[in-house]
């Protein structure tokens, strides 16, 4: 039941580029599994290896215990939803959906019944005799999905299926994909560079970078407990802070001295000792920014800073606060609307405080993304070593 689909030490090189570098992971039966990463991270190559369009240089791919590495794509019980849909332009919607069954030489009545059922599933019975260039992007998307589903694949591969759609449509297709996954109960392997899509759809996410998997976990795990600075910055926004452990004041907690910021308390699940260098990820939404001093609490980090920049974003406000020599990004949720609450303004002296549990210690020490040659996605905020990066 576990390990329905298994990648074992799979590697693939294109010329000088190591697209997939000794990757091993497994997907459970019926799971919605996402491969998430920036372009060029190897996620699409993994999908193409799975579909059979590419052969791995090393390693093997197992489906339900059977080694499928050498099986050609047309004999794999795996179907793909392509990024640009790849609908056959010379066939109608109905003929496109029927293609898989036609090729398999199924009886005519069976094909007609299955196609009608699929058309009903995507509510496109009225468009059955139109050609792909006569229907909208969202409709093409749905046709591409059911065309791949009609052969009852054991795994459905989805290659950035929503990338070409506009925002509203994407959100609707997200719900629809989720619904289809629940209805058909097929294992989904989903490739995307969009953390939002991956988070909202997946049972588990594998975050990839440079041909390797950096972390596999449920969405909350990769968001709240990122293993590496790459994962922390790729999924959501964060502040990176590096320092040295100075004391272990209570079990599972450590004090960390951060140059230019001060001493902070941090959850120490990595069992670091005094003198160890550590790298912390502090999510902007974990901070509180107030004009009043918060009540004393042993597990609270309280710092004083000056508001440098404010962006009002409707459901939250972003404050960039200068603390010591560093700049920290914080998001303040508007849980209640206080008309008479004294608003925080530019240049205000504020209290910045957060629960020690909210900071997360990363596995890799302070390798700044830029120094590792990684360009962080836009919107990412991270400030470490006193350097300011893009907002």
């Amino acid at each position: 039941m576990n390990d329905f689909l298994e990648f074992k030490n799979v590697s693939k090189r294109f010329g000088t580029v190591q697209a997939v570098d000794n990757v091993s992971f497994s997907v459970k039966r019926g799971e919605f599994f996402s491969l998430l990463g920036p372009s060029g991270c190897g996620k699409t190559t993994l999908l193409r290896l799975m579909a059979g369009f590419e052969q791995p240089d090393n390693g093997s791919i197992l489906l339900d215990g059977q080694d499928i590495t050498q099986i050609p794509p047309n004999q794999r019980a795996v179907n793909t939803v392509f990024q640009n849909y790849a609908l056959f332009p010379h066939l109608t919607v109905r003929e496109n959906i029927a293609f898989g069954l036609r090729v398999a030489r199924r009886p005519r009545q069976e094909i007609d019944a299955a196609v009608t059922e699929m058309l009903k599933l995507i509510q496109m019975e009225d468009k059955a005799d139109q050609r792909p260039n006569q229907i909208s992007g969202g409709q093409k998307q749905r046709v591409a999905i059911v065309r791949a589903l009609i052969n009852r694949p054991r795994v459905l591969l989805l290659d950035e299926p929503l990338a070409a759609l506009d925002l509203k449509l994407r959100q609707r297709m997200l719900l629809e994909l989720d619904l289809i996954h629940d209805q058909v109960g097929i294992t989904f392997l989903y490739v995307t560079h969009d953390q939002g899509e991956a988070m909202s759809l997946s049972d588990r996410i594998a975050v990839m970078q440079g041909g390797k998997i950096e972390q596999i976990g449920i969405p909350a795990e990769v968001y709240e407990a990122p293993k590496t600075s790459f994962v922390a910055s790729f999924i959501g926004d964060t502040n990176f802070v590096d320092g040295t452990v100075t004391a272990l004041p209570m079990p599972n907690y450590c004090r960390v001295r951060v140059e230019g910021l001060g001493e902070i308390l941090c959850y120490n699940d990595k069992q670091k000792a005094v003198g160890d260098r550590v790298n912390l990820s502090l999510r902007p939404e974990k901070f509180h920014v107030t004009l009043e001093q918060p009540q004393e609490d042993a597990r609270l980090n309280v710092l004083r800073g000056k508001v440098e920049n404010i962006i009002y974003a409707g459901n939250h406000t972003r404050f960039w606060v200068h603390i010591g020599e560093r700049r920290i990004a914080t998001y303040h949720q508007h849980r209640r609307y206080h008309l008479d609450e004294k608003p925080i303004r530019w240049e205000d002296e504020v209290w910045v405080w957060w629960d020690a549990d909210s900071g997360y210690m990363l596995d890799d020490y302070a390798p700044l993304l830029e120094e590792r040659g990684i360009t962080p996605p836009p919107e990412t905020i991270h400030s470490a070593n006193g350097k300011e990066q893009r907002i």
Binding site: A51, F53, P73, Q75, F88, H90, F99, A148
Partner: protein, 288 residues
């Protein structure tokens, strides 16, 4: 009213072009077929149906049949050779693609007649090809490589092949090869993906190739004249013979009209039967 004017002004240039260079000459050729010959290469006064009646000569059906057969076979062979060639050219690396396009076009830099003449040398009874084949025992001592219908066929395919490769390559280059992956992903073999997805995808290119090969091939007369024998004459040879040899212009015109009707008839059925136009003007053919 102004919209109507715009429509007229937009279509006027092409209408003029077609009228001047296609419609008027065609009508002239058709009309001359009904004029009497004066025996000096000119036309006599009045009108006559004599020339049209003379087309019932029993040698013409055979020549028309041979012309149609050779041209259709040439077209078929050209397309059958050009499709895999175009597929390969579209799939190969850029540098190879450019080289192959160049190699396809380069023969055009040599005069057409010279190229046909080269075949005459290659296939000459004392040429090295025939001697080589004889030495290998692949042909009988009395086999002729030149002046047969087969030779005409070979040279027709040779000279028309680039015209079929270029449009098919152009269509294949625009073809989205991910569609073939999609077909194979859905269980199709590579062959089925090729026949059911690639071929329909380049159908326009194939259509163009058929037109640009079939129509000149129908009117060819240099090739059968130079490498063919008396048994491989095409309608073009007869037209030339009537014009230059017999100096009987009306008879030549009647034959040309016969060819035009034989070509345009089925084409009209194809074009208007499909309820589509746009390719019809490409069917302007003539004697090469």
């Amino acid at each position: 009213m102004s919209r109507r004017w715009r429509e007229i002004s937009v279509s006027l240039p092409s209408l003029l072009w077609l009228t001047l260079l296609f419609l008027i000459p065609t009508v002239l050729v058709l009309a001359m077929a009904f004029k009497p010959s004066d025996g000096y290469g000119g036309m006599g006064p009045g009108w006559t149906l004599e020339t049209i009646r003379s087309l019932r000569n029993p040698s013409y059906p055979a020549i028309i049949g041979r012309t149609l057969g050779l041209s259709l076979l040439t077209t078929l062979l050209c397309v059958v050779l050009a499709v895999p060639m175009g597929y390969y050219m579209a799939r190969t690396q850029r540098i190879w693609r450019q080289t192959l396009v160049l190699l396809t076009v380069v023969p055009f830099w040599i005069c057409f007649v010279v190229r046909v003449f080269a075949w005459k040398h290659l296939l000459h009874p004392d040429g090295f090809i025939r001697h080589g084949l004889l030495a290998l025992g692949l042909i009988a001592p009395d086999t002729m490589l030149l002046y047969t219908t087969g030779t005409v066929m070979l040279v027709l395919v040779y000279s028309h092949l680039p015209f079929s490769i270029l449009p098919i390559f152009a269509a294949a280059e625009k073809f989205d090869f991910q569609l073939m992956e999609a077909a194979m992903d859905l269980g199709a073999t590579r062959w089925r993906a090729f026949t059911h997805v690639f071929l329909p995808g380049i159908a326009r290119g194939i259509g163009t190739a058929v037109l640009v090969v079939l129509i000149p091939a129908l009117g060819s007369y240099v090739i059968p004249d130079m490498v063919g024998g008396t048994e491989s004459e095409m309608i073009g040879n007869k037209i030339a013979q009537r014009t230059f040899g017999d100096r009987n212009l009306p008879h030549a015109c009647a034959l040309a009209a016969l060819l035009t009707v034989a070509v345009l008839g089925p084409l009209m059925v194809m074009v208007f039967g499909k309820g589509r136009s746009g390719t019809a003007e490409k069917s302007v053919g003539g004697v090469v």
